[in-house]
């Protein structure tokens, strides 16, 4: 399998606070990697740094072999990186359809994802296409946010806490829509608080603690206890590669 994304010794700060410390990992083409970890472990900052929304303090980000560390976010979208940000961050006064169209027209790559394809993948959005994004429910907003990212026809999809603030039944629906996407060979890096769901969805899991990756492996080779320990930092586990 070829490597699509490689992160090398990445450092990211918020002022004096170092959120991401010397993080290195790779994501192969068609692989799903789940990042788990407690609040404040640096997962969101890591994702935003890969997407170009946050400037790293050190290290490199390689996409498809090219160094993209200094590229602005909109150029990375053009290369095929799309982030579904935490909290969805839709454009509230644009309609669902406008939210989708603005992303595809702005510099997305040509590909299979169109407004119709997104509405087919998320049927709940079809009757809402002319509604303002602000008037949607949380689940509908999340579906729109994922659809908006897909409209750029990404090669790598970054999903930040898609289940945050949603009712369990809604989360189930969002993941059902995602599963067909994942089975279709998409490359996904997802941040998920729900450990069970992360272990079920991903090919590989990486656990972050205080800005570092402390545990990494396939769901098959990791025990729940190992992950829980790494998650809360009960006992410092050495990273297993």
């Amino acid at each position: 399998m070829t490597t699509l994304l490689a992160v090398e010794a990445l450092d990211a700060r918020h002022g004096l606070l170092q959120a991401v410390r010397q993080v290195s990992f790779e994501v192969a083409e068609a692989e799903t990697l789940a990042l788990v970890g407690a609040n404040g472990a640096g997962k969101t900052t890591l994702l935003r740094t890969i997407a170009g929304a946050h400037r790293p303090a050190g290290g490199r980000v390689l996409f498809d072999g090219n160094d993209i560390t200094r590229l602005p976010a909109h150029r990375r979208v053009r290369l095929g990186i799309a982030l579904v940000p935490e909290g969805r961050r839709l454009f509230p006064n644009l309609t669902v359809e406008e939210n989708l169209r603005v992303a595809s027209g702005a510099g997305g790559r040509p590909g299979p994802w169109t407004v119709d394809a997104v509405l087919e993948a998320f049927p709940l959005l079809a009757p809402l296409r002319r509604k303002r994004a602000a008037s949607l429910s949380g689940g509908e907003q999340q579906a729109t946010a994922i659809g908006r990212a897909l409209m750029t026809n990404p090669r790598l999809l970054l999903l930040d806490e898609v289940s945050l603030g949603l009712a369990p039944v809604v989360v189930e629906g969002v993941y059902r829509s995602l599963s067909s996407l994942l089975e279709g060979g998409a490359t996904v890096l997802l941040v998920e608080q729900d450990l069970a769901r992360a272990l079920k969805t991903a090919d590989r899991v990486a656990c972050m603690l205080e800005g570092r990756i402390v545990l990494e492996g396939t769901p098959g080779e990791l025990t729940r206890e190992q992950v829980t320990e790494a998650y809360f930092g009960l006992r410092r586990t050495e990273a297993t590669a």
Binding site: A53, A73, H74, V77, F91, N93, V102
Partner: protein, 294 residues
């Protein structure tokens, strides 16, 4: 002038204010920049048209053909070179930058064109009027100006609603960081918005110059009226800007009908009343929420 005549002319005068205010509203709506140099940029447009008509002996309308594209380019580079840097330093800095620009432009115009008044020729339409009755006569030029204002505001509204550039402008206005994440080059979008805003300013300046004479310091006065039109109409709404201009124009001419000295004063009074009423409603809303909370 009768009362009817004052109201009709007030509505038409509103078109002049709305035309100048449209670019002001656009820049504030997209970038949150209050461009204090907007009126001065309009004046530059008028002076450029004056140069072209004087030296090339073309009509003022034909002079718009080079002036408007020039203004687009000027607006683009103004954003890229000055305003973008100012924005990075916080929301108040562009206010200072554009205030400085206002003074620089006034002085440059004075240096190159002298403090004397100039005017632009409005062609044959300037003297034509529609005599409705013995007391009401509607000059065609005023109708033309109003039509141009409606056309510009309507055109902007259409662009914002139905084109990719419009969607990008609105998305960037709402959340510039997220706009970047969906592939929008926010800096380029800002520069395009500034280009359009400065072009509408130049258009407004040329029409203002045909309507009345102007001198290097006329920019500030015109800016004040345009600003009042934006606030009366409700900030961020383009059609609201047209209504704001009309309300202001009617207020000024009805005031002048009572006493010619009240022209500017009555406009300011209406502006203040709207401002106080708005903040009053907000304050009452706040007290209600507070009362409910306790």
């Amino acid at each position: 002038m009768t009362w009817v005549s004052a109201i009709v002319h007030g509505i038409l005068l509103g078109g002049v204010y709305a035309l100048l205010a449209s670019g002001l509203a656009l820049m504030f709506g997209v970038m949150r920049i209050i461009n204090l140099a907007h009126g001065s940029l309009a004046l530059v447009g008028a002076y450029m048209a004056f140069l072209l008509t004087e030296h090339l002996h073309i009509t003022t309308y034909l002079a718009l053909a080079p002036v408007l594209p020039g203004a687009l380019v000027a607006g683009y580079f103004l954003q890229r070179t000055m305003l973008e840097r100012s924005l990075r330093a916080g929301q108040l800095v562009p206010l200072l930058t554009t205030f400085g620009l206002l003074i620089v432009i006034a002085n440059l115009l004075q240096y190159f064109f002298s403090p004397d008044v100039h005017s632009l020729d409005e062609g044959r339409i300037g003297t034509a009027a529609w005599n409705v009755s013995s007391s009401l006569s509607i000059p065609w030029f005023d109708v033309l100006t109003f039509g141009v204002a409606v056309f510009v505001l309507g055109g902007l509204e259409l662009v914002l609603r139905h084109t990719q550039l419009g969607r990008e402008l609105r998305a960037t206005a709402e959340d510039a960081d997220t706009a970047e994440l969906v592939g929008i080059n926010a800096r380029a979008v800002y520069a395009r918005a500034a280009a359009i805003a400065v072009a509408t300013a130049a258009l407004a300046g040329v029409f203002y110059g045909m309507r009345s004479s102007f001198d290097p310091n006329a920019g500030a006065d015109q800016l004040l009226y345009a600003f009042e039109a934006v606030v009366i109409g409700g900030i961020g709404s383009l059609w609201g800007t047209l209504w704001g201009g009309v309300v202001l124009g009617v207020a000024q001419l009805v005031g002048a009908q009572i006493n010619p000295e009240y022209f500017a004063l009555s406009g300011h009074v209406v502006f203040l009343v709207v401002l106080v009423a708005r903040t009053g409603v907000q304050a009452r809303g706040l007290t209600l929420t507070l009362r409910r909370a306790t």
